[in-house]
């Protein structure tokens, strides 16, 4: 927090929404949130029904990317202030886990000997086959994208 009362995030990337998105929730605001949530759920359901490698599936992921990319660059919401610095020891635990995960994935990809050394994608793919599961996964992906835009 700076002496002028602003956070680093506010100085670096000032939000340009007309008002903070994290203010008190009024009924109209809650209704809007419910409407947006329902819209995203329907969108996820529709995209989950498209065939892999189809034009519809590609468009289904391009649209959210384009929308969130535009919002992030042109009209970013008020950002959640990031930490000034990270604890090296605390962060090292994450680095170890991520390095182990990607090393494991790289070795499976290099061996390329399905089904003996399945990659993470090989394992996740069958789990995403039920329509409901895939819809939920797409919804989580969309919400994660919005969460990232706010960071």
């Amino acid at each position: 927090m700076a002496t002028d009362g602003t956070t680093t995030a506010q100085r670096d990337h000032p939000g340009r929404w007309p008002r903070p998105l994290t203010g008190p929730r009024r009924p109209a605001h809650l209704a809007l949130l419910a409407l947006v949530g329902a819209g995203l759920a329907v969108y996820s359901w529709v995209i989950a029904g498209t065939a892999p490698f189809s034009r519809g599936a590609l468009i289904g992921v391009v649209i959210p990317g384009a929308v969130l990319g535009t919002i992030a660059l042109v009209r970013p919401p008020e950002r959640i202030p990031p930490p000034e610095q990270l604890d090296v020891t605390g962060m090292s635990y994450w680095v170890i886990c991520l390095a182990a995960f990607f090393e494991w994935e790289a070795s499976a990809w290099r061996d390329s000997s399905w089904p003996w050394h399945p990659s993470f994608t090989n394992l996740i793919g069958p789990l995403l086959e039920p329509h409901l599961i895939k819809s939920a996964a797409i919804l989580v992906w969309l919400l994660a994208g919005w969460a990232l835009v706010r960071r």
Binding site: A100, P118, F120, G125, W141, A147, R151
Partner: protein, 69 residues
Amino acid sequence: MPPIPTRTITIIGFAVAVVAMVVLEILARRPGSRIPTVGEWLGYLMRPKLGRVLVLVGWWWLGWHYFAR
């Protein structure tokens, strides 16, 4: 005792890595923890514009990889 198939070993390896990350996130959310949450370290990486772009591209790639292919 029969040998453990390499497929099982591979799956166990992924499971260990994923569970470890879930545990880290839970530990990070305890008051006074020195471990950053995923949101905190991603936010830190996204402070420069290049980091912001790379993280968002990574997010989009995940969607394309798992939902469009």
